[in-house]
Amino acid sequence: MKILVALKQVPDTETKIKVAADGRSLDPADVKWITSPYDEYALEEAIRIKEGKGAEVVALSVGGDSVKEVLKNALALGADTAVLLKGDGQGDAFAVAQMIAAYAKDKGFDLILCGNKGLGGDNAAMGPMLAELMGIGQANVVVKLELGEGTFKAEREIEGGTEIVEGALPAVITAQKGLNEPRYASLKGIMAAKKKTIEEVDAAPATTGAQISALALPPERPAGRRLEGDAAAQAQALLQALKDEAKVF
């Protein structure tokens, strides 16, 4: 079994967001970059499948030299090989899906795993777009995955519960928190990763579907009001305010 895990490098959530001079992108100064947390669930799942029934795990990321960090980390965690698809990995999900589809098309992957969304961009689009471009099935926001002979059974989050999706492999599965508990890299893994090389491939040309034309910080929320008195008085004052000022009720 051959598994592709697509990983995205994203700004850490704690990063203070500043808009760059162009008015439509993130000012990269002082940004701390991490592997998108949902992708960590995807990678962990791939490694568990490898440990359980045997598989070759290929980690892939689209971007420039900086995303090698993400790939090195994936190798340290247990990916067998790593591919850097040189292209714009921060841009449009449709473009990224095309680049990955073009790379993966004839490589015989049985399973493609990725996060259900990239932290920050939150588009939740790359996975399903990749599945469509490759002409294969999908299950998104998955919290449980079972593989059969050429088939998969996935449990995914929906409103008010979960649902079971079944389909044929190859397929794209996008991971959600709950799928597993990602491990930390061991010293042995980190040492082994140092010996592995990252294959660099130029991404195929892709068309852009959508782009950010302006990025703005949200308006400041007006200062809130502290309610006074004991618990009963505070409760009374809050409900009155919600009723009269906020007109919530």
Binding site: G121, V141, G209, A246
Partner: protein, 326 residues
């Protein structure tokens, strides 16, 4: 042919789901602004209940009906959506950012070679093309997204756009169901026992964090939520604490993104990953014994105090005032 804005609508028990009514209403507004027709698209074994779309402004109601659509399948439904866009010459395809909407809309977009914007909170037509505003970076910024493609696809965040009735012709038209080989299909729905609305669609949410100390204490939040006509959520710290709270209750970056009218955070400090899920709430109330808790920076109303005293008082007062969710 006047070009069309097409809205994919979901039916549940023969009724159009609320997030679909919201996107239909927004679609009507956009269609009026751009001089376009509004089409409402339904797919399933039966589309009974779809006629209701006329009340929310659909000029045309398109139904794809057949046994092949009995269970939801992302690839088959994406084919239905893409075919409908092509056959009607639609330039804009909208859906609600529900579990199904977020599953099928990007797939349909890829099939159409179209750009896609997810979970948007603002839409407009600029020079005949869709423009979308959506929160990014955990709600710390808003991105205006424009499209390079001729067809433009977007999903709208539930509870953000008002559902407004506006009668239209609602002429019905049946669509052919494309033949497909079901690459993946939903076999079973494992619904939670509670018949309450999902957090993502709730109007009032009472959330508890690590300050709740134990899962059993969430009973007091249930009581308050019941009194206010709301549902209960939780921070990740509470879900991960081993108190027996399901992940489906988690609000935040790795949980649910919610946009209620009222969000009451009880014993939640207001970490950025939590805020990422609830900063779109219209009114935020924080109950926390630490006056320095970051959640107070966000709160419209703050109560510095012990939640175990304040929450029961709120329930009592709500009952006394005869408050219920609107």
């Amino acid at each position: 042919m006047t070009s069309m804005i097409l809205v994919f609508c979901e039916l549940k028990d023969g009724q159009i789901r609320k997030p679909s009514l919201e996107v239909l209403s927004e679609g009507r507004r956009l269609a009026d602004a751009a001089g376009k027709q509004l089409g409402a698209l339904f797919a399933g074994a039966s589309c009974a209940g779809s006629a209701e779309a006329a009340k929310y402004g659909a000029d045309v109601i398109l139904t794809a009906e057949g046994p092949a659509l009995t269970s939801y399948s992302s690839d088959v439904f994406a084919a239905v959506l893409a075919e409908a866009v092509k056959s009607k010459g639609a330039t804009v395809l909208l859906a609600a950012a529900t579990a199904v909407g977020k599953d099928v809309a990007p797939r349909a977009a890829a099939r159409l070679g179209a750009g896609y914007a997810s979970d948007v909170t603002g839409l407009s037509m600029v020079d005949g093309k869709l423009q979308a505003v959506r929160p990014v970076y955990a709600g710390k910024a808003f991105a205006t997204t424009s499209f390079a493609s001729a067809v433009q696809v977007a999903t709208t965040r539930p509870n953000v756009f008002p559902a407004a009735e506006k009668a239209a012709a609602g002429t019905t038209e049946a669509l052919a169901v494309p033949a497909s080989d079901f690459k993946s299909v939903v076999k079973e729905i494992l619904a939670k026992a509670s018949g309450k609305v999902d957090l993502s669609e709730a109007n009032v949410i009472v959330s508890g964090g690590r300050g709740m100390k134990d899962g059993a204490n969430f009973k007091i939040l249930e009581d308050l939520a019941d009194a206010l006509g709301g549902v209960v959520g939780a921070s990740r710290a509470a879900v991960d604490a081993g108190w027996g709270l399901p992940h489906s209750m988690q609000v935040g970056q790795t949980g649910k993104v919610v946009s209620p009218t009222l969000y009451i955070a009880c014993g939640i400090s207001g970490a950025i990953q939590h805020i990422a899920g609830m900063s779109g709430s219209k009114f935020i109330v924080a109950i926390n014994k630490d006056p320095e808790a970051p959640i107070f920076k966000l709160a419209d109303y703050g109560i510095v105090g012990d939640l175990f005293e304040v929450v029961p008082e709120l329930t009592k007062a709500a009952k006394a005032m005869g408050i219920g969710s609107n």
